[in-house]
Every structure is written in structure tokens, then in C-alpha cells.
């Protein structure tokens, strides 16, 4: 390996024939704007990186460090950086044209930089050696500084000329789409786009200008430094217009100024994500979590937000235009600007349905940052849970059962669900302990969502004690809100935590519960906490397919629309919630099903208020279709 590198290096030290530096010390004043810009951004990045690392807890720092040297995560890092930052595969999957636009600019630009450096390494290697030789700017403005004798054009050289022109064209096509998107975003699949700030505008216009200017600049010098299918014809065209004396310095100046300005505006604009996204990927793959809303890992998330606005269309609140301001993109923008008043208002309004996170091309976990933001205010609120000390599991004295059913507060508000679950269990001949038949302790998830972590911990420890003492093997839940917290935050060793959709699916697959297939059609609504929250999409659909005809919603699975009843929002009023429920129902009834089936007591309640067709609970549907032996 080292031998190979050695040969490559010595080989690259030989300057090929016919390539001459046009400027003896390889310097011209026009490179200054670019040099200032790039130096500024590098210093800014370095300071930012130190700041973020400084604010991480020692444990997190250690974890990050170890992950960098763990082959598995290191490989994943490389793969993720390549797919997410350069190719933008996530956007490709949902919106191909938008994906093409992003990857054209990102991957194309990346290739121009890489190829530019390889070119210099091959043909003028001494300029990469030190900053004094122009390593900072030389590969960028390579075409300006060299003169290539036309007689010495090699195949390898032409290949590079071709590649450079090809990728420049690739980037230009992306830029053209970006310009079109500014005028008509819906053409690229976006109904709403973000309002750009001043720095955004400066950076945006510079970005638009950089590549056409590069084309012009390289076109002007193509007869001296070589070119390919784009730059050569352009050069000839210029000659036809301007004669043989081409005054090419102004375009190179402009090109350099635009690059410099872009880098200067970058830290204050959305384009910072180009540089910070790799950091976020590395930190996320290391398993770091948001601890404070503005520091450490959260800061990496905030700066990685590309402000693309995909979360605007994703947010269920945005059926009403007045709610656009509560979207994640603006939340993060205000966080970045430390606008405390607005941050808190937005943080409290969110339904925490997680759709913005699921659709975010960068993967910014804004619901988690909102939760952390709520914590800053709400953790001070006092709580008194002493009445809970009197709580005892009543049915414990009876014979011990394998299954413990925990209905939770929300199922208790919808007794039909409880009735259905218990009767399905009975028909399957399963014995179970009904943990909170006559009242129980809240699972703690609503407290967690409200940012009252300490209070939640208290509830969690009380419930955990009760569950561990019961001796059950399976904890069965009919509420996705409970399910998520029992699965993620309880650490119940030796106990399987199952949502009833999963458990009933298991029973049916094992043949312990038999259902009959009817002809009625239904659509399944993915509750936020169950779908996006816990990744349970298949099991309920599996069961419903064996019961009736399962129709599709317009948007489903991780794109499903919140019912509006979420406990996550602390301030959203009933009217707004009603509007969300209506839009969610419209989405579900796209194929005219006979009923809506959901697997969450909250969705069930919100839909029943507004739905023109019957709304049923998952267990209710199963219960209605049990085949009696």
C-alpha cells in the first residue's frame, strides 16, 4: 500500500511536458476574495467544531471518539455522508426531480473540486505542496494559471477536460432547476417553500452565479489552458465576437468574488448545512442524543438544517396557512438566532407527530429539540405524586398470568377499546392481568413530551416496580403512546413489550386466534407514535388484510397525517385540531373505504368527532370478526 502511494507521489512530482505556468509565482490579485472567503469559513468551522465538542458531555465525547474508530460505524459514516450529503438519496426516493436538483449541485460541485485537485496533482503537483505555493486557491483557478501547448494534448489530459466540462454541465442543470424552483416550487413537488433571510439571499444569488461565471471564465481561457465540449466552443464564440484579444480577467475576478462572498455569507445562511451535515451524520451514528436545545449535539443539528422547507408540507398544522410559522424550519431558524420568545411559542405548539423528522433529508430531529426546549421551562414546575404510594396492583393475588394488559389513561377514555381487547384475549383463551382495571399510574410519556423529565421518571419507576413484581412475560398495550415509552424508556428486562396490533397479529399467525374474512373495505391510519415512533407498520395491515379489503390512504406509513388529537401539543386549540382531523380524514378516504381503522385511542376519538364514515378501533374490528369454533 505504502509502496503504491510512494510511486504515485514520485510520479506526480514530474511535471508533464508542454504545461507551463503563465504566471511565474502563480499569483494574481483576483484570487484574494476567494482566499479571504475560504479562510474565514475554515476558521469559523474550526471554532464551531470546538464549541460543539466542548458542550458535549464527557461521556458523549468519548462515545463520539470511539465511534470514529469502530470500523462498522466508520463505514456507515462514509456511506451516509456519500448518500445523504452528495447524492441526496432520501430526496430522490420521494421527489426524483428535487433529488436530481440537489445531487446535481452537491455531487457535481464535489466532483469538480476533487477532479480539479487530481488534475493539479497530475499536471502541476508542486502547487499542492504548501500554502505559499497557492495550495489554497491554485486548484480552483488552475485553468487561469497554466498554458498548455496544443501539440502536447494527451488522452489523459483530454479525459480530464471532458470530465470537468461534463460535471460543470451537470451542476449547471441543477442550478437551472433551482432557479425554476424559486419561481414555481410545485413543479419540483413542493407546495410551500421557506422565506429566505438576507444572508440566504446573498448566498443563494452567489451560488447561482458561481457556475455560469466559471463557465464564462474557463471559456475565455480555453484556448490557452485547454477545454472540452463546453468551454472550447464558447471560446470560439467569444473570438468571433471579441476578436483575438480576449480580456478575460474581469470574469475571473467576478468568479472569485462570488465564491468569496458565498463563503462569507455561508455561516449566516442555510448553506452552512453543506459543511455541517457530515458532522451531524458522524455524531448521530455515534448514538448521541439532544440534551440541551441549543448546545452540543443540538447545535450540530441546528446548523445542519438546510432550511429546504420540506417540513412545511409535512407539518399537519399547515392545512391552515397561518400555522406555517410553527414549522420546524422556522423553529430551528429562531433557535439559531436565539429568539427566545418565538422559540418557546413554536416549541409548545408542535404536535410532536414526528413527520418533519421522518421526511427531513438531513435527518434533523426537531421534535427532540422541541422537547429539550420545553424542558428548559417546564422542569421547574413542581409535582406531588404522593397519592401514588397507595397504589397496589389489585389482581396480583389471583393466579399469576403470562400477560399483563396495561390499558393506560387514553384507553380508559375509550372503554370500547378495552372491552374489545379483553374479549379478544378471552376468545383466544389467554389469561391476563389487567394492570389498571380500576385505575393505574400514567405511563409517563405525556410528561416526557411536555419536557417534564423528572416527573416522568418518577412515574416510570413506580410503574416499572409494579410490572417487574407481577411476574408477567408479556406487557400488552392498547395505546401507542404507552407502547413507545414502555419500549424505549422503561428497560423491562425479560419482558416483551407489545402493542396489541403486534400481539394479535402473532396470535392469528400462530393460529391461536381465528378471524373470518368479510367483504367490507377499510383504510388503516398509522398513529404517529406507533408508525413513525416505533416503526410498526406491517402487523396491523397484515391482520386487517385477513379481515377485509384494505384500501390505501393517499399518504400513509411514515407520511401518514396526524389526527390532530396528539398529546404532544401544549397550546394548539380545538378548532385547529379539528381542521387537522378533517385533513387527515380526507387523506384517509381517498379510495372511498367503508370505514377507518386506527390503533390508537386518541386518533379514534379525534376521527369520530369529524368522520363521515364509521371509525373503528383495531381491536374492535378483530373482535367483530372472530371465528367461533
Amino acid at each position: 500500500m505504502t509502496a503504491l502511494l510512494q510511486t504515485l507521489y514520485t510520479y506526480s512530482q514530474i511535471t508533464p511536458e508542454g504545461i507551463i505556468d503563465r504566471y511565474p509565482n502563480s499569483y494574481n490579485h483576483f484570487v484574494l476574495p476567494f482566499v479571504i472567503g475560504i479562510s474565514f469559513i475554515m476558521v469559523y468551522l474550526l471554532i464551531g467544531l470546538i464549541r460543539i465538542l466542548y458542550h458535549l458531555t464527557a461521556e458523549d465525547r468519548k462515545r463520539l471518539f470511539i465511534s470514529l474508530f469502530t470500523p462498522k460505524t466508520a463505514l456507515k459514516n462514509i456511506k451516509d455522508i456519500f448518500c445523504d450529503c452528495l447524492l441526496h438519496t432520501k430526496i430522490w426516493k420521494r421527489k426524483p426531480l428535487l433529488g436530481y436538483m440537489h445531487s446535481a449541485i452537491a455531487f457535481g460541485w464535489f466532483m469538480l473540486i476533487v477532479l480539479g485537485h487530481i488534475e493539479v496533482a497530475l499536471f502541476a503537483p508542486r502547487h499542492l505542496d504548501s500554502v505559499a505555493d497557492g495550495a489554497l486557491y491554485y486548484p480552483i483557478f488552475y485553468r487561469f494559471f497554466i498554458w498548455m501547448s496544443p501539440e502536447h494534448e494527451t488522452l489523459r489530459g483530454s479525459l480530464f477536460f471532458f470530465l470537468m466540462d461534463f460535471f460543470l454541465l451537470y451542476v449547471l442543470s441543477g442550478i437551472a432547476l433551482a432557479m425554476y424552483k424559486r419561481v414555481r416550487s410545485i413543479a419540483l413537488g413542493m407546495r410551500h417553500t421557506t422565506k429566505p433571510s438576507l444572508a440566504d439571499r446573498v448566498a443563494l444569488y452567489c451560488l447561482w452565479a458561481i457556475f455560469p461565471l466559471r463557465l464564462l471564465a474557463e471559456g475565455f481561457t480555453a484556448d490557452l489552458s485547454g477545454g472540452s465540449f463546453l468551454t472550447k466552443p464558447l471560446n470560439m464564440l467569444f473570438r468571433n465576437f471579441f476578436g483575438n484579444e480576449l480580456n478575460f480577467l474581469p470574469t475571473w475576478w467576478l468568479y472569485s468574488i462570488c465564491l468569496g462572498l458565498f463563503f462569507l455569507a455561508m455561516p449566516f445562511s442555510r448553506y452552512m448545512h453543506i459543511l455541517t451535515e457530515p458532522l451531524l451524520i458522524v455524531m448521530r451514528n455515534a448514538g448521541l442524543k439532544v440534551r440541551k436545545p441549543r448546545k452540543g449535539f443540538a447545535e450540530a443539528e441546528i446548523y445542519a438544517c438546510s432550511s429546504c422547507g420540506l417540513c412545511l408540507d409535512a407539518c399537519p398544522m399547515n392545512t391552515q396557512k397561518k400555522n406555517l410559522k410553527y414549522s420546524s424550519v422556522y423553529f430551528i431558524r429562531f433557535l439559531r438566532r436565539h429568539n427566545e420568545k418565538k422559540i418557546n411559542e413554536i416549541a409548545d405548539k408542535c404536535l410532536m407527530c414526528g413527520k418533519c423528522y421522518a421526511l427531513c433529508p438531513v435527518g434533523v430531529n426537531s421534535p427532540d429539540i422541541r422537547r429539550a426546549q420545553r424542558e428548559t421551562l417546564n422542569h421547574k414546575l413542581s409535582f406531588d405524586f404522593t397519592p401514588m404510594d397507595n397504589f397496589r396492583l389489585k389482581e396480583n393475588s389471583e393466579e399469576s398470568a403470562e400477560i399483563m394488559y396495561f390499558a393506560g389513561c387514553m384507553s380508559h377514555l375509550t372503554p370500547k377499546i378495552i372491552k374489545s381487547v379483553t374479549s379478544v384475549l378471552e376468545s383466544a383463551g389467554k389469561k391476563f392481568i389487567f394492570a389498571d382495571r380500576e385505575g393505574g399510574i400514567c405511563c409517563g410519556r405525556p410528561m416526557l413530551l411536555a419536557g417534564r423529565t423528572e416527573a416522568a421518571k418518577e412515574l416510570i419507576s413506580k410503574n416499572k416496580k409494579m410490572i417487574m413484581e407481577s411476574g408477567c412475560k408479556i406487557l400488552l398495550l392498547s395505546c401507542p403512546i404507552c407502547y413507545k415509552v414502555f419500549k424505549d424508556d422503561y428497560d423491562l428486562k425479560g419482558i416483551r413489550v407489545l402493542h396489541y396490533t403486534q400481539y394479535l397479529n402473532e396470535l392469528i399467525e400462530k393460529g391461536e386466534l381465528k378471524v373470518s374474512k368479510g367483504s367490507s373495505s377499510m383504510v388503516y391510519h398509522d398513529p404517529c407514535e406507533l408508525g413513525r415512533g416505533c416503526g410498526v407498520y406491517e402487523e396491523p395491515r397484515n391482520v386487517l388484510r385477513s379481515i377485509g379489503e384494505l384500501k390505501k390512504a393517499e399518504k400513509e406509513r411514515d407520511e401518514s397525517i396526524c389526527c390532530g388529537g396528539s398529546l404532544g401539543s401544549l397550546t394548539l386549540d380545538n378548532k385547529d385540531r379539528g381542521k387537522i382531523a378533517e385533513s387527515s380524514i380526507n387523506n384517509l378516504t381517498a379510495e372511498n373505504p367503508q370505514s377507518i381503522v386506527t390503533a390508537c385511542p386518541l386518533c379514534y376519538r379525534s376521527f369520530r368527532e369529524k368522520s363521515p364514515i364509521p371509525v373503528k378501533d383495531f381491536a374492535e374490528v378483530v373482535c367483530e370478526n372472530i371465528k367461533s369454533n
Binding site: P387, E395, H412, L413, T414, P415, K416, I418, K419, R437, E438, G439, N574, R605, R608, E609
Partner: protein
């Protein structure tokens, strides 16, 4: 020539207005969607505050309507506004050209199954105020209870049930029914879960006092949810806001005091006429003080609970003033 007046709704308001108008010499047509006249009154057993038999009141109301053309089991199919009259097509095929229209479409009871946490339609022991009246009339059966609870404000004063307004009559009805239950089942414990008791009318406070003397327990606080115990009884969770403590009571029967919502069939008529409704869903009157019986349409009047929850005496008053307004309108014309 006698003017035609069409009255939609054969409840107390419609009956009272029609009897007065017919005496004034108008040609009165009364349309009722049910088979029997009387509206909710026909389904009630006794009336607060003094326990008057609903049946007796209804009988005397109907007795006065001699000369009124009554169409029961009939609905309004379509209404058209003509120049100075209304063209109404009824479901029995008759077309009426009415010079004045009186909407006495009343109210529907809030559908208690919508508050699913109270378990109406799910637990056997949970019934509504209307069911209990049927029981008193001997047309509905409940098991002999050891403990009975009344939940006030079901579907009223409840943002989540989309009705922040008070239904006005449920408090007095609940206290009346609680007394009645205590008289029927002397051994039973009776609880009333209320937010605040709105005993505003004459003699209502006496009724409340009587209830307290009978040993009915009033608990200030809302019921949060109802569960079933392993023995099949009802476990009611509520908050006692006077002692600031959550409480649990085990009951056999729970009566939900379903509030008043705008009547659906009234809404259908109003919709055809483009009548505006207020946020509570009831029709809006021409103003809020002087013209409570008038609508924004010439020749269209209201009486009773079509414009919001009302007690029976209020409804009857409104019927009389509506009759007078209609007479004024037709004489001027």
C-alpha cells in the same frame, strides 16, 4: 281571506303558538316529524320544579289546538322563498303556500355516546336523562341499584364536545330526577357530580334544599372516566374540587344529563332557507333583545329552543310572543 301560517315542530312551542293563532282566526298548519305530538315533552314523565305530570300538560296543550291542521309523521321536504310568502312542500305530498312561517324546531339531546369515556352504549348501567324518564314512565327497565350517580353537563359547557354553552335545564332536571330515584329506591345512595348548580328559577332552590334533606350527595367536580369493575359494577373517577382530591365511587347506575343541541331536522329546514346560525349551532335571531322571535327573513319567526336552550315556561312565553309578532306582521301586510 284567511292567511296561511305554517308551524314547523309540534312540541310545546308549536302547540302553544298554533292554538293562539287559530283563535285569532288564521289558517294554521302544524307539521310534526314524529307520529305523536308533543316533542320531548311526550317522552318525559314529570317536570321540575313541582313534579307536574308531563302528560297532563301535553294533554291540555293539545286540547287547545282545535281547528289547527296537524300533520304528524310529516317532514318538510323543501322550502322556497316567494315574493311575500313561502312555498313549502311536505313529505306527505301536500304543498302549502304560507304567508308566515314559524320555526319551532326545538332541540335534540346531545348524543351521550359521543362522550365515550362515560361509557354510554358500552356499559349496561350507564343511561341518559331521557332513558330515566322512560323508566319513570314504566317503558324502560333498570336493575335495582345500590348506588346511583348523576353526571351534570354532558355535552354542555364542554369545549371538547364542541359546546361551551350551558343547556339551562339539566341542573334542575338532575335534582328532580335524583329526588325521584331516591323516592323509588329509598335504600340507594345517590350522587350528583356537578360543576356548579344553576338553580336560577322560582322554586328551584327549594328543590335543591329538598334533595339535600333527602340525603342526596352533591360532589362538585367533573367525572373523568367510567370503568367496569371485575364484578361488573361501574367505577366512576371524578375530582372533588371542594376537597381538591381525586375520588372513586362504585355505582350501579349512572345517569348522564345530556344537554341540548340544535335539532337536526330544524337545521335541514334552516339550511334550505340559508338561515344563519350562531357559533352554538342554534338559529340567530334578528337582534338579541327586542326582536327575539324574528329572523332575518321577512315573515319567518322562531319560538322555543330553536334559538337556544330554554325551560318549558320560557318556551311557552316565546310561543305566545311569536304568535303576537306573526299577527302584527300579517295585519300590517
Amino acid at each position: 281571506m284567511k292567511n296561511n301560517i305554517l308551524i314547523i315542530g309540534g312540541g310545546p312551542a308549536g302547540l302553544e303558538a298554533s292554538s293562539i293563532l287559530v283563535k285569532m282566526g288564521y289558517n294554521v298548519i302544524l307539521v310534526e316529524k314524529e307520529k305523536e305530538l308533543g316533542g320531548h315533552l311526550a317522552k318525559w314523565d314529570t317536570l321540575f320544579p313541582d313534579g307536574l305530570k308531563a302528560e297532563d300538560l301535553l294533554k291540555s296543550l293539545i286540547k287547545k289546538t282545535e281547528g289547527v291542521k296537524c300533520f304528524t309523521d310529516t317532514q318538510v321536504q323543501s322550502v322556497n322563498i316567494l315574493d311575500k310568502s313561502y312555498n313549502v312542500i311536505l313529505s306527505n305530498g301536500i304543498t302549502v303556500l304560507a304567508d308566515a312561517l314559524l320555526l319551532a324546531t326545538g332541540f335534540d339531546l346531545f348524543k351521550a355516546e359521543k362522550k365515550e369515556e362515560y361509557g354510554y352504549g358500552i356499559y349496561e348501567g350507564v343511561i341518559t336523562n331521557a332513558d330515566l324518564e322512560q323508566f319513570f314512565k314504566g317503558k324502560f327497565s333498570i336493575k335495582k341499584p345500590k348506588a346511583v350517580g348523576f353526571v351534570h353537563c354532558v355535552g354542555s359547557r364542554d369545549e371538547k364536545a364542541c359546546n361551551p354553552a350551558c343547556s339551562k335545564v339539566c341542573c334542575a332536571t338532575a335534582v328532580k330526577q335524583a329526588c325521584h330515584i331516591k323516592e323509588t329506591f329509598e335504600e340507594a345512595d345517590v350522587f350528583c357530580f356537578y360543576m356548579d348548580l344553576r338553580m336560577f328559577g322560582r322554586h328551584y332552590e327549594d328543590l335543591y334544599l329538598k334533595a339535600q334533606k333527602m340525603g342526596i350527595r352533591f360532589i362538585r367536580g367533573r367525572v373523568s372516566e367510567v370503568a367496569e369493575t371485575s364484578e361488573g359494577r361501574l367505577l366512576v373517577k371524578a375530582e372533588d374540587t371542594l376537597s381538591s382530591k381525586p375520588i372513586k365511587v362504585t355505582l350501579d347506575t349512572l345517569v348522564l344529563m345530556a344537554g341540548m343541541r340544535p335539532s337536526e331536522s330544524g337545521y335541514m329546514v334552516g339550511h334550505q332557507l340559508n338561515l344563519s346560525v350562531e357559533e352554538d349551532g342554534f338559529f340567530s335571531t334578528k337582534d338579541t333583545m327586542l326582536s327575539l322571535q324574528k329572523s332575518n327573513l321577512e315573515g319567518l319567526f322562531f319560538a322555543g329552543a330553536a334559538t337556544g336552550p330554554k325551560t318549558l315556561p320560557d318556551t311557552l312565553h316565546e310561543a305566545r310572543s311569536a304568535a303576537m309578532e306573526i299577527d302584527n306582521y300579517l295585519t300590517k301586510k
